[in-house]
Symmetry: C2
Subunit: 199 residues, 2 copies
Amino acid sequence: MNAQQAASKGESTRELILDSAYELARGDGLEGLSIGLLAKQVGMSKSGVFAHFGSREDLQLAVLEAGRRRFLDQVLAPAVKLPRGLARLRAVVHNWFEWVHHYESGCVLLAAASEYDGKNGALHDAVVYQQAGWRESMTRTVGYAIASGELPASTDAEQVAFEIHALALALHQDAGLFGYEGAIRRARLGIDRLLGPAP
Amino acid sequence: MNAQQAASKGESTRELILDSAYELARGDGLEGLSIGLLAKQVGMSKSGVFAHFGSREDLQLAVLEAGRRRFLDQVLAPAVKLPRGLARLRAVVHNWFEWVHHYESGCVLLAAASEYDGKNGALHDAVVYQQAGWRESMTRTVGYAIASGELPASTDAEQVAFEIHALALALHQDAGLFGYEGAIRRARLGIDRLLGPAP
């Protein structure tokens, strides 16, 4: 194996560990992530896992970052192919609600927001950075729909972004407790009240 | 000590354990509740704790029920002194947002909704029962403000209850991540958009 092959193998092993860690964290949260269980799942020793991630915290940060990338790939990336405006905003909301449906049984990013909101440290900072970034992105997307004239000029973009976020949280909770069908109907009605009836 | 004194002492020891368990669960969730740590905090042996609660699950259920009573005492009870209508609805929302502020660093009921939404068992059932009961209560409270003519007759009470819940969830998350001041301003603007400007 030459140097390039070795680097590539290291990279793919890292991705494999990260995928398994992500799935484990969906059930038990990042705080509940067991390195022993993870090592077993990927067929390595604990020290083998730590060879790819310097520390437990580094691994948790990497899982969080993997979640962020996955979220942006699934929720934002397909929508930004649409021109700036209401259709793009609606597409982001649609994809976000699909994401909630897919990760109904446990979302690493949402769980992390609860796990680390009151704690200090690198994970708290990463969660705040991540959530603030997403809110800014939503506010910008709402802003484009104001600029295009599809939402009234008096619209408070940050407020609309906050309320979309609120509906996504309630969708997640209601879907988990009472079922997705009723919850998505309520969430969509809330969106219609915010953005006007869907076309 | 006669039988009545003994019963009363047993009751107050039970309450003491419950209070400590509630505080521990605020930080670590009901799943993370350590009986060893709890026993240490109340100065008893583990078996002493189990003498008051048959099992770990019985204790978790009792903590959940204690949380529910506390929530209703603080959020609903003061508001129902007001006549049925918009003022009572606004008072419930106000008290709820105060509750969120007080339990910003961790709310047992909210954590339980995440911990048990995807799981089967007695705790899941208790959380669903509790959350469904609270939603019904909110829907009824909104209904009174429709009946009094203060909200339009066309108002969908269940939808308004869902959206108030959504704003409370977003308030909790934003307050934890970005601070209460900005979050409460956003949540109140959302309520004004739902119920009309505050008097």
